[in-house]
């Protein structure tokens, strides 16, 4: 199955599955955010992607770019907090790259994800190592860009997973956890975990065959 990619249906499945997994992981993400932030990251993400999925169903957009925009607007309008503008930006940038496409091949997808990552940096001004979701996006995208053939792609999920878990020992430099200073070390960054899950579900929608990561037991 060379030329793996994504069509509208797969994208809708991706959003649907991500929303469901977020709902299931809500308490865990809240608990992580409780320890080093304000305890709402799970609630925020679940609310946002529930809305996104509903809007996607209601509006049935005609191409991937439009679908991404529907998701972006849903997130911007329902999440708030730090994750709202950040995940909103991700889908806005992705939408720009996938404009008018009914189907995207892997290069197009990676290009879109690169634009999304740049968007995160522009919005949040974080660097790799600041204990934010960028700590997952940076290495995962680097890997995907270098290893975009099908078999290797599966490994990207493992890269994202490790990257999310590696945020545990870091001291936060950006976001709410940064106020804790050294006390922020010892807990995985909630946004990194939701981003790790993002890549898990995304790659599963791309090509299938991804084993479900037991985030709850790994991060708590």
């Amino acid at each position: 199955m060379i030329g793996v990619g994504m069509n509208l249906e797969q994208f809708a499945n991706f959003i649907h599955d991500y929303a469901q997994r977020l709902e299931a992981l809500k308490d865990t993400l809240n608990e992580l955010d409780n320890r080093i932030g304000d305890g709402d990251h799970g609630t925020n993400m679940a609310r946002g992607f529930h809305t996104a999925q509903q809007q996607l169903q209601a509006k049935s957009p005609e191409d991937l770019g439009a679908a991404c925009n529907v998701v972006a607007m849903a997130l911007l309008g329902s999440v708030g907090g730090a994750s709202g503008p950040l995940y909103g930006t991700i889908f806005m940038k992705l939408g720009g790259a996938l404009k008018n496409l009914a189907q995207a091949d892997i290069e197009q997808l990676i290009e879109g994800l690169q634009a999304a990552k740049t968007g995160i940096i522009e919005r949040g001004k974080a660097q790799f190592g600041d204990k934010t979701m960028l700590d997952v996006w940076e290495p995962t995208l680097e890997y995907v860009t270098a290893h975009s053939c099908d078999e290797e792609l599966l490994q990207a999920v493992m890269v994202a997973r490790i990257a999310a878990l590696e945020t545990r020992d870091r001291v936060a430099k950006k976001g709410r956890a940064a106020y804790l200073g050294p006390r922020s070390a010892g807990t995985c960054d909630p946004g990194s975990v939701s981003s790790g899950l993002f890549f898990e579900v995304l790659i599963s929608a791309w090509r299938g065959g991804v084993e479900t990561i037991p985030w709850e037991t790994l991060v708590l």
Binding site: N34, G39, T43, L76, G80, L86, R176, Y179, L180
Partner: protein
């Protein structure tokens, strides 16, 4: 979780309706989480807001002489850009709008996106970002300080400046002066519980307190054994004053702000010692606010804010305001 609520998903919605039902001078923009003055004056518009759970902030500071609009996010979650945009449009009277933002990544990003939307529609929008919390180190490598209760002084002074007819740039200048002149720090005896999560934001032993907390139930910078009210005041006040450029005979305004569950009697006991210590530091207390201004749900604890005054700030601080949560004490 023991709370007097109905459906957690309706928390903010019912709160806002219950607020406007009680305060006729406020209205809720239909279909939004935006509270604006029922009657707007022709002047620079002032919009603030943030997550809910800080009541009376921010809607309680909407009224003649303070804010024109306040945007309420979910509990402790900054509001979304579209909501802030609605507030900007509603209060804009052609003289531009100033956004008063507390320094949190989420608040800054969401308000800035709203500002971009508004500018795209030709509305003049400026902003000030409040960062009064001395608990947090301020360096170029960090996100900078948090905005906490000192924000209320910015609402008051900027509100009076706008009411006095100043231009957007002038109101922004005055607001920035308050931001530069106000420092705060807080502590907690107990955590709070965000309704949607249902769990306490942290756990403390019976003899422990958190020092240097934010206003979202975040743990503070340090956990310590509980001390007396006076010792606690000494600790916070010292950090605050060390960070300010105040010298003997300077005039200041003080805010002793309850976090939600601290009895007013304890806040007065705290102020008793604050008054003694400011005197010992040769500071003249021009005005003192004691009460709940910027809370964290049912958290027990308090924050202290000190605002260094000059003649301009005194005038605007003294100006009357009809905002329901602003208490005017006669001089």
């Amino acid at each position: 979780m023991k709370k007097l609520i109905n459906d957690v998903t309706l928390y903010v919605n019912e709160m806002l309706d219950g607020l406007v039902a009680a305060v006729p001078s406020l209205q809720r923009l239909e279909g939004t989480q935006v509270i604006v003055r029922s009657e707007l004056s022709e002047k620079v518009g002032l919009v603030s807001g943030g997550g809910s759970g800080h009541e009376p902030a921010h809607a309680g500071f909407v009224g003649k002489g303070m804010l024109d609009g306040a945007v309420a996010g979910e509990v402790f979650t900054s509001p979304t850009p579209d909501q802030v945009f609605e507030a900007i449009k509603a209060v804009n009277q052609g003289k531009g709008v100033l956004l008063i933002i507390k320094n949190y990544t989420g608040d800054v990003m969401n308000f800035e996106m709203a500002a971009e939307m508004a500018r795209a529609e030709g509305i003049d929008v400026e902003q000030v970002v409040v960062s009064d919390d001395v608990a947090v180190e301020n360096s170029t490598y960090t996100v900078g300080r948090r905005g906490i209760a000192g924000t209320v002084f910015v609402h008051k002074v900027a509100g009076a400046a706008a009411e006095a007819g100043l231009s957007l740039q002038e109101v922004q200048r005055v607001a920035s002066k308050v931001v530069d002149s106000v420092r705060s720090m807080g502590m907690a005896l107990t955590p709070c519980t965000v309704p949607a999560s249902g769990k306490p934001s942290f756990e403390l032993a019976d003899d422990e307190v958190e020092i240097g907390i934010g206003i979202h139930g975040e743990p503070g910078i340090e956990r310590r054994s509980i001390q007396s009210s006076a010792e606690t005041v000494d600790y916070l006040l010292e950090k605050i004053i060390a960070d300010m450029k105040v010298s003997a005979d300077d005039e200041v305004a003080i805010m002793v702000n309850g976090m939600g569950a601290t009895p007013l009697s304890e806040l007065f006991i705290i102020n008793h010692h604050v008054a003694e210590m400011t005197k010992a530091n040769s500071l003249h207390v021009y005005r003192t606010l004691v009460g709940e201004y910027m809370t964290s749900l049912e958290m027990s604890g308090f924050s202290l804010s000190v605002l260094k005054l000059d003649e301009e700030l005194k005038t605007y601080l003294d100006a009357p305001s009809a905002a329901p949560a602003w208490t005017q004490t006669e001089g």
